[in-house]
């Protein structure tokens, strides 16, 4: 039997040792009433070569970024991943390891986790980061729960320029927490500072803004942070692409109290939406309210540096119903990949990726704006994404362009019916001028 090494002779030997006659006897404690009466009706098993054929055929039905030129972003980004990232992260010693509860045999994972925490802190300008949560959206929801606990206030003021799916997840999580979520409509693709200031009050736990925001806009986060802090509320900055902080002022630079977001751009493949990497970072004084695993440095019995999971008293396996969160499995492997990615890039690479993104995105933005029939929906500074008003419904444009070998962007009508003629276009460092020029030509032909 595939992956079961036990031979019939060995099976018989084990049964004799146990003192039963058959394997059936080992299931005698299962009441016959709940036993399966007929064999399961499942698809037949596949040999290895057949399995490869079957899965390759399914994979090739998909218009993936190796086949079409990808201008889609909206929380999932086609950045270039150096091959060393996954050749190292996929080593069996990392890939098939368990959670490092036995630190002496897990120094590799633990040290990598400590390095990851440091790199995230450096990139975001924050004091402390955990060793990962599920994804950007659920990390933001955890951050909101954290803000409620820290402030003992129950109102969240959230900009609608935050990713719509992140906001949905915040609403789902808060359903159980008796937290009120007040959404501030964006104005022209940006968070209106005055409107936020009017709503923030003594009951507000946190102001939640995204940078760069969902529409690609670069928010005036300093002003928004001031509004939050003036009312004694926390400032909670979400991000869907932390690489932006290679160029933009990071959350810590404006006094964000919690930064939460998506780490997929740091070396994780698109993977049709997952596994991704939930990032959360905060002030050191808030660390005991932070969910998720933390790696700490310590010493061993001989004074050598070593690493352990620490401050576990916050976690579900110790504190059970009083834990800061129920998170158990995290996304450690993606965090490891992020650490390797950031080590390969270094400070120079991170700045360069961000600059390439901005320069290329602005080139395309300018060329599309010059096309007849297309206009920019929201004026204002942008990072690597921007919103284009299209001459036909945006989902139709995407369909037509797919036939020409492009994933043209993300039609915003799926999130807001009023934005049915809006296309969110993303350019990463992976796109070339030649691809963009061809894309512009293809857009021109659609009109």
């Amino acid at each position: 039997m595939r992956y079961v090494p036990t031979t019939p002779e060995e099976r018989a030997h084990m049964l004799r040792t146990i003192g039963v006659r058959s394997v059936e006897d080992l299931f005698a404690d299962i009441p016959p009433r709940v036993r399966l009466k007929a064999p399961l009706r499942m698809r037949p098993s596949l040999s290895d070569p057949d399995l490869v054929r079957y899965f390759r055929a399914l994979a090739e039905e998909n218009a993936h970024a190796g086949k079409v030129v990808c201008f889609a972003g909206a929380g999932a980004y086609d950045h270039f991943i150096p091959p060393a990232v996954w050749q190292l992260a996929s080593r069996g010693e990392f890939l098939t390891a368990y959670t490092p509860y036995q630190p002496e045999v897990s120094q590799g994972a633990l040290q990598a986790g400590y390095e990851y925490q440091t790199m995230v802190c450096e990139l975001l300008g924050m004091e402390v980061a955990n060793a990962s949560l599920y994804d950007g959206a659920s990390a933001l929801a955890e951050a909101v729960a954290m803000a409620r606990d820290l402030t003992r206030r129950d109102r969240m003021v959230v900009s609608t320029a935050v990713h719509p799916e992140y906001r949905q997840v915040v609403r789902t999580y808060t359903a159980g927490l008796e937290v009120e979520v007040v959404e501030i409509p964006h104005q022209g693709g940006f968070t209106p500072v005055e409107a936020v200031a009017r709503v923030v009050d003594g009951r507000t736990a946190a102001v939640v803004v995204q940078q760069p925001n969902f529409f690609g806009g670069v928010e005036d986060i300093r002003a928004l942070a001031e509004v939050a802090h003036a009312a004694g509320a926390l400032f909670l900055l979400a991000t869907a692409d932390p690489l932006a902080f290679g160029l933009l002022e990071p959350p810590g630079g404006v006094g964000a109290d919690i930064a939460a977001g998506e780490g997929q751009p740091l070396g994780s493949p698109l993977n049709f939406g997952g596994p991704y990497l939930g990032i959360i970072a905060t002030r050191m004084s808030f660390v005991r309210r932070m969910p998720g695993r933390l790696v700490g440095a310590t010493v061993d019995a001989e004074g050598r540096r070593g690493f352990v999971l620490t401050l576990q008293a916050r976690e579900q396996h110790i504190r059970r119903e009083k834990a800061t969160s129920n998170v158990c499995t995290n996304e450690f492997l993606n965090a490891l990949a992020a650490a390797i990615y950031l080590a390969l890039l270094g400070p120079d690479g991170v700045r360069r990726v961000a600059e390439l993104c901005v320069r290329k995105a602005h080139y395309l933005k300018g060329r599309i704006a010059d096309l007849p029939g297309y206009t920019l929906a929201f004026p204002g500074p942008t990072f690597h994404e921007f919103v284009v008003r299209t001459p036909h419904p945006a989902d139709q444009i995407v369909r037509v362009l797919a036939g020409k070998g492009f994933l043209a962007g993300v039609p915003l009508g799926r999130f807001d019916p009023e934005l049915g003629d809006c296309l969110l276009v993303c350019v990463t460092e992976s796109r070339t001028r030649e691809e963009m020029d061809r894309f512009v030509e293809a857009l021109r032909q659609v009109v």
Binding site: V23, N62, T172, P275, Y276, N326
Partner: protein, 491 residues
Amino acid sequence: MKERDFPLVFERSTPGRRAHGLPEPDVPEVPLDELVPEWARRRTPPALPEVSELEVVRHYTLLSHRNFSIDQGFVPLGSCTMKYNPKLHEEVARFEGYSRLHPYTPEELAQGALRLMFELGEELRELTGMDAVTFQPAAGAHGELTALLMIRAYFAHRGEYRTKVLVPDSAHGTNPASARMAGYGVVTVPSDNRGNMDLRQLEAALGPDVAAVMLTNPNTLGLFEEHVDRIAELAHAHGAQMYLDGANLNAMLGITRPGDQGFDVMHTNLHKTFSTPHGGGGPGACALLVKRHLEPFLPVPVVRREQDRYLLEWERPQSIGRVRAFYGNFGTLVRAYAYLRTLGAEGLRAVAEHAVLHANYLRVRLAPYYRIPYDRVCKHEFVASGIRQKQTSGVTTKDIAKRLLDYGFHAPTVYFPLTVEEALMIEPTETESLQVLNAFAEAMMVIDREARENPEVVKTAPHSMPVRRLDEVRAARFPDLRWKPERRSDP
């Protein structure tokens, strides 16, 4: 850093060194100020390491050598099902058609991915006896939270307000934590002397305020809940929902189905039963399966088939919303589906049979040396206790765990479940050979002898690892959670 410390990647850094091969911009150079205003720009660069590619490769390769994994040896962690992770399934999941697929690719252009999710759902529904599925939760505990929010929505829809969730005293810590996050109070139900949930105590705890009973089956003692259908009957009589924490599904594959045992909703950890790698703590993935009456409350979107097309259904007015962006840990689903398709129904039953056979074999072999608190046929795992060793020689379960590392084995789950003193929870899985099981049993016997004859060697273990026992108290008292660059003020 001391001479003997293994360096951090930051400590390998030399200013000016680079590992990346990024291009110069191929678009006209425009002054940066025209693109991103000065006020929005970063002032100081992040202190990331400056290293060559070889230095990065060497650093993380050497780190991997300091990490224990299934690929190197036996990991008998109870409740974690550390079985072999087939290489073929890794390769398949890395096909570009999956790994480079954008989540907002129009449905008609992502038919292969949607079909894969649909077929995996069908297989799991048949295997568990449930009616509908979502893969949106990223992990088992995330599935618990999702399910409890769905149960909340279900009762709200019926105009009922229930406030409590019942969990057995042997439950995983995630159960009570999830219940609290979903806004419920937690009531703990004790076990009886056979390791089952105590029926009388359950009856006393049930009432119109109970929303759900969360059960792990086989439970965390490795025992099948002998009255599972009776528990379900009692819960249902009070209108409560039955939740299965499916962490231990490995023992039931093809033998008995949660759906037939009376569960209304369950999760299964695909990284356990369905053999996707644990990755040092994640990513995992979760399938959350429900009976028909809970289906309307599933998170959006749901994958549906219409004739021969697959689509994402968004219009679900009673849905709880979302618990994660996009659709779940898709890359992990690919591996789990590959595992299911490799084994098929017969192979899956063989998995359960051998997982249970191996666990019982180890239980019987260890019984003369370690206390087995519930000495009845176990399922895929069993709980032993180091209480005898502790009482006679002062050697604790923690010491035994550390000593096992010296003998080339990962330690079992220790001090869990909380209901057993000095607990050692051992799960061998179906993929370990008789030779490995014997070697492990012999190591456990040697440690028992050492505890009597030379307890110091056990108490000071491990002796053969890159580091000796680590000071966890110091780590918690003086948290050092990040490296700090020298000659630079902190952020």
